[in-house]
Symmetry: C2
Subunit: 304 residues, 2 copies
Amino acid sequence: MAIKYGVIGTGALGGFYGGMLARSGKEVHFLFRSDYEYVQQHGLRVDSVNGNFHLPKVSAYRQPLQMPACDVVLVCLKTTGNRHLHELIKPMLHPGSVVVLLQNGLGLEEELASHLPDVQIAGGLAFICSNKVGPGHIHHLDYGKLVIGSFNLTNPEVLKQVISDFQSAGVHAEFSPDLRMARWQKLVWNVPFNGMTVVLNTTTDRLMSNENTRELSRELMLEVIHGANCCGVPLKESLAQQMIDMTLKMKPYAPSMKLDFDFRRPMEIEYIYSKPIETARNAGFEMHKVAMLEKQLRFIQAHY
Amino acid sequence: MAIKYGVIGTGALGGFYGGMLARSGKEVHFLFRSDYEYVQQHGLRVDSVNGNFHLPKVSAYRQPLQMPACDVVLVCLKTTGNRHLHELIKPMLHPGSVVVLLQNGLGLEEELASHLPDVQIAGGLAFICSNKVGPGHIHHLDYGKLVIGSFNLTNPEVLKQVISDFQSAGVHAEFSPDLRMARWQKLVWNVPFNGMTVVLNTTTDRLMSNENTRELSRELMLEVIHGANCCGVPLKESLAQQMIDMTLKMKPYAPSMKLDFDFRRPMEIEYIYSKPIETARNAGFEMHKVAMLEKQLRFIQAHY
C-alpha cells in the first residue's frame, strides 16, 4: 500500500527530502508558511549536487487543517518551535499515522509523546549540507544520508517501507535499531561544531586548523561520549577521532546554528545543548565544557 | 634615604603610578618607546578622577642603557613581552635594586628569577581603571589601590618605604605578606572577566545582567579558587560571591584584555590563563572551564 506523506517545514531539509519523494512519484503534501504563494505559482526547485530538478506543481498547503490525514508525517522544522509542534501536527494525523522527527538533538520524541501519548513516533537524523536559498528554492550542497529509527512504534516495519521509498527516490536511507544511540552519536559532532562556530564566529575548517580549537573540539566530543555512556549508550571514545578526521576532510562548513546566528534567527540551543546536559546530569554525569558552551550561546542569543 | 625609582612601560599603569610619585617630589626615571619625543616636549599629563595634573618636565629615556641605576624598578609593561624582560631591565639595576612586577597573572617572578637569580624581586597588583588615551596622556577613571609583596627579598622592609612613598603621593598602597595569594586572588576576577568580555565581545555589566554568564562567571571563579586551594593558597569559596557583588556595582567596564582585543594587540593569555592552568594541573587539579576559555582566546588571537 502506498504511503501518503506529509512534510512540515519545507526548508533546507523538508524541501530536499520531500522534493525527492515527490519527484519519484510518491504522494507528498507540503505545509508552507511564507513560501506558500510563491510555490503555488512557481513550484519547488532543488539545485542538487546529484542533479537539479524542478517540481512545477506540488501539493501545497498554508494551514495544517487544510491538509489530508497523512500516513507518515515528516517533521523538518527547526526545533525552536517544538513546544507547539503537537498542536501543529494534530490536524494531519489519523489513528495509524507515524510522525518522524527529522530534527537534531535529544528529548524531542519524549516531549511530543508527553503531549500526544497515543501517537506513533519515530525519529530521524539527516546528514546533509543543504540550505534554502530563496522561496521554494533549495540548494543541496553535499551528503544526504538519512538515519531513521523507532521511538514507540507498535509496528516498526512501516519504517522499512519509508526507507524503501526514500531509496527508490534516490536518497541514501538507513534503519537504525537504536534511535537514542543515533541521536547521541550525531550530538558528538553537533555539540562542538554548532556552538563553536557561533561563539568564535568561524567555520569548521578554521576550528580544525588551529591546534587549540581542534583539541577543544575533541574534549567536547569526549564529554558527549562520556555523557552518552552514563546514559547507557555505548559510544566508543574512538568516535571522537573518527569525527575529527572526517571534519578535517570536509570543505569549509558553517553548521545550521551558525547560519541561524548569522541571520539572527533563534538557535537550537534547547535540544542540542540543554536537554543532553540535563539528561547526562540526571544520569550522574556533568558535561562541564558543553554546559559552558551552552551558557555562552544563551548569552549570544539574548544579545541579538 | 630617598628611593630612586625607575618606571618601565609608561602606559595606563606606569604613567599613573610613576606620575603620582614624580608629582609628590620623588626621583622617577621613565622609560618610553614611541611616546619619548612627545613627552620630552610636552611632559606627562594625567586626567584623574582624583584631580588632573600635568608634569611639564619628566626624566624620560628612550633606551634602558641611558638610564641611571635605580633602587626600585617598577615594571608596568604588558606581560606579552615578558620573555625578554630580563634583558630590558638589566642595564638599570645595581646590586641592591628591587624589581617590582606590577603585572597580572602567575609565574612572572619565577620566570624573571630564572634569568636573573641574584636580583631582588617583588610583585604588585594594581586595582585600577586607567587607560592611555594619547602620547604621554593617561586617563585614570576609577579605583587605584596597589598591593605589593615580596617574592625573594632578603629584606622586605624596603617595600614598607615604597608603600610609604606611594601613600605620601596619594596612592592607596598596601603590603601583602603573601604575594602568591594576592596573585591568585586577583586571578579570581581576571580569569572570568578578561576572557569572557573578549570571547563574547561585551562588557562586565552585560555579563552580570545575563543569568547564564553571571552563573558561568561564578563557576570560573570557583574553579580558580579550587585551583588556588590545590596549590596551597587558602582562598575561600565565598570570595566568588564577593567579587560578583562588587562587579554588579561597577560601572560598565572593558578589562584590559578586551581593550587589547579591540585594538588587535597581543592578549595576556600566557600569565593570566596558561600559567595558572599549568600550576594547578601540576598540583593535581584540572581547571576545565578556564582551560576552555584559554583555548577560545588562543583561537581568537591567532585569527586577528
